[in-house]
């Protein structure tokens, strides 16, 4: 199912650095600022039913809190007067919401057909060796979460990966090395 496999953040869990879990970390108190709450209301007003803003607000929550914890789900649910169960169902359906804190950088290598034909398996093997982890895991220093993902629709420049917000195209092992060195 779409919430299974490689982009499912639950697989990251055993490599997540200790002390970063949301509930015990005072730095990640689950509440938006007044300005953010204004933005939530603005987003909600754009849709005939305020619930339409749920995905955008979950994106905001992830940017603010680092990932979508159960506590964050409850908080977002309260902003929509929805049950936390509904929000949980939504969060777990989509691949871009992390349910545990990912690394400081996320490297998502496409392993679909065009990238496969252009050498994605070699890129993935190289990443494994370089980082010492498998897809779905985070390096022990919390620097990089490594994922394999389905088609990112940049097949003209295969093999490719998404590194945080950017598409990195025409990958080679050397390019991967330079990319990883740049991630701090």
């Amino acid at each position: 199912m779409s919430h299974g496999q490689s982009r499912d953040a639950s697989r990251i869990s055993d490599r997540t650095p200790a002390g970063q879990a949301g509930l015990s970390d005072p730095a990640t108190t689950i509440a938006f600022s007044e300005a953010q709450l204004g933005e939530v209301r603005r987003l909600q007003s754009l849709y005939p039913d305020a619930r339409g803003a749920l995905l955008p607000v979950l994106h905001m929550a992830q940017e603010t809190f680092g990932y979508i914890s159960l506590e964050a789900e409850e908080y977002v649910a309260s902003l929509f007067e929805l049950s936390p169960a509904h929000v949980h169902e939504v969060v777990t359906f989509y691949t871009l919401y992390f349910r545990e804190r990912p690394g400081r950088h996320v490297v998502a290598v496409c392993h679909n057909l065009s990238c496969h034909l252009a050498g994605a398996p070699g890129i993935i093997a190289h990443m494994k060796r370089k980082l010492g982890i498998d897809p779905g895991e985070t390096t022990e220093d919390g620097r990089v979460t490594f994922l394999t993902v389905e088609c990112l629709c940049a097949c003209e420049a295969a093999p490719m990966a998404q590194v945080d917000d950017r598409y990195e195209l025409n990958l080679t092992p050397e390019k991967i090395d330079r990319l990883l060195e740049g991630l701090r």
Binding site: M1, S2, N112, L113, S114, H116, C153, C155, E156
Partner: protein, 407 residues
């Protein structure tokens, strides 16, 4: 030299800005359309033989005319920018390089269907296209093109292939998991938030301004009898120049491969996926087909999103199917039993065949499971998976058998 319609502005470095778009004659079609009766706009699009370019190939003008005439409440226009079909990347180019073409197409479509609000659903991974398009929307508001009877909301998805299916997209837009809905009712009757809704693909709407500006006959004349215009073919895999190529829909697959520099790797063609991962595969002997909706239908496959993936002789077909089967198993939304169960099961079987652990009956089991499930699910996702399952095995059976011990 064939006419370039959709990619006409791409060479300009500032093509994403309002100034550049206007400099190339942009928004003149909107000026013309706002003087037209809504029904006349729809009629023009019908006469142009424009067919949906997202996958299904449904006639666009006919779709617009399904909005109930008696409806007095809101009507919504939803743009499907949830590009995700393996091998397709055209909408990414349009969003990044010609966002105002989409906005102009939306303005014209909205007038035709008497709609005051449009939503653009952009896949969550498309951060750069989303930023580019959002900036263009802001420019259009500042210039008074938007906000004068038509508003646009840009909505980011969150990662799920199924949201490219129009009713799955609507569920997602409503703040739910992206489960497709049973049709009928079709979105034109009961769509987003329970209201009549037209869902159109990015590229489809980008065809609308040129149709209004230059006339239906001109557009229809670019294509075949049953489909007008040009379209953007995403060509990738084993070709020398992978890229997006615009061509009339009457172009043949052989010509497209030549446009892309010819076959790379061994230089000898083995097979081609003509219309995105979900299209049945064609062998090297089947590439003299025209790349329009009906041409590929006649060839037993589909044009889909026009994502062309080329495979040279060195490519392992079982491995290619394994990659696609993994994709379908991952992306099945889980709502319908045949799809949820079969996609996982078939992936397991293809995977073990590739690892030379296949069972003697696996190929027949895959074909049986695939064919039994076809047509039994709420949306077209599973039928899209069946295309590759069946065609890869039926056309390249000996290659699979060679991997199975004691086959």
């Amino acid at each position: 030299m064939a006419e370039i319609v959709l990619m006409r502005n791409f060479a300009n470095a500032d093509s994403h800005t309002l100034g550049a778009y206007r400099g190339g004659g942009g928004y003149a079609a909107w000026d013309k359309a706002r003087q037209m009766e809504p029904a006349a706009i729809t009629e023009e699009v019908k006469k142009a033989n424009l067919r949906g370019l997202g996958g299904a190939g449904f006639p666009t003008g006919a779709k617009w005319s399904f909005i109930p005439k008696t409806h007095t409440g809101p009507v919504y226009l939803v743009v499907n920018a949830d590009e995700g079909e393996p091998g397709t990347f055209k909408d990414r180019y349009l969003l990044e390089r010609d966002p105002h073409a989409l906005i102009e197409g939306m303005l014209i479509a909205a007038r035709a269907i008497r709609c005051t609000k449009g939503f653009v659903y952009i896949r969550g991974e498309y951060v750069q296209p989303w930023r580019r398009f959002s900036a263009a929307v802001q420019e259009a508001y500042d210039a008074g093109l938007l906000g004068q009877g038509f508003d646009v909301v840009v909505h980011r998805g969150a990662g799920a292939y199924i949201c490219g299916e129009e009713t799955g997209l609507l569920s997602s837009l409503e703040g739910k998991k992206g489960w497709p809905k049973i049709k009928p009712p079709f979105p034109a009757i009961k769509g987003a938030f329970g209201q009549p809704t037209i869902v159109n693909n990015v590229e489809t709407l980008c065809c609308v301004p040129p149709i209004i500006a230059r006339g239906a006959e001109w557009f229809a004349g670019l294509g075949t009898k049953t489909q007008g215009g040009t379209r953007m073919y995403s060509v990738s895999g084993r070709v020398k120049k992978p890229a997006v190529y615009e061509a009339p829909v009457s172009v043949t697959l052989r010509q497209l491969i030549e446009m892309a520099g010819g076959v790379s790797g061994t230089g000898r063609l083995k097979a081609v996926v003509p219309g995105g991962g979900s299209a049945a595969i064609l062998t090297a002997h089947e590439i003299d087909v025209t790349m329009d909706v009906d041409g590929l239908k006649a060839a037993g496959t589909m044009i889909g999103s026009a994502g062309v993936i080329v495979m040279d002789e060195s490519v392992s077909i079982p491995e290619a199917l394994m990659v696609l089967a993994r994709f379908y198993a991952h992306e099945s939304c889980g709502q319908c039993t045949p799809c949820r169960e079969s996609t996982g099961w078939i992936y397991k079987m293809v995977h073990r065949i590739v690892e030379r652990r296949g069972h003697k009956d696996d190929l027949d089991t895959i074909l049986d499971v695939a064919k039994r499930g076809a047509g039994t699910t709420i949306c077209a996702f599973y039928d899209g998976a069946v295309g590759p399952y069946v065609s890869y095995i039926e056309k390249f059976r000996s290659e699979f058998e060679a991997l199975i011990p004691h086959a």
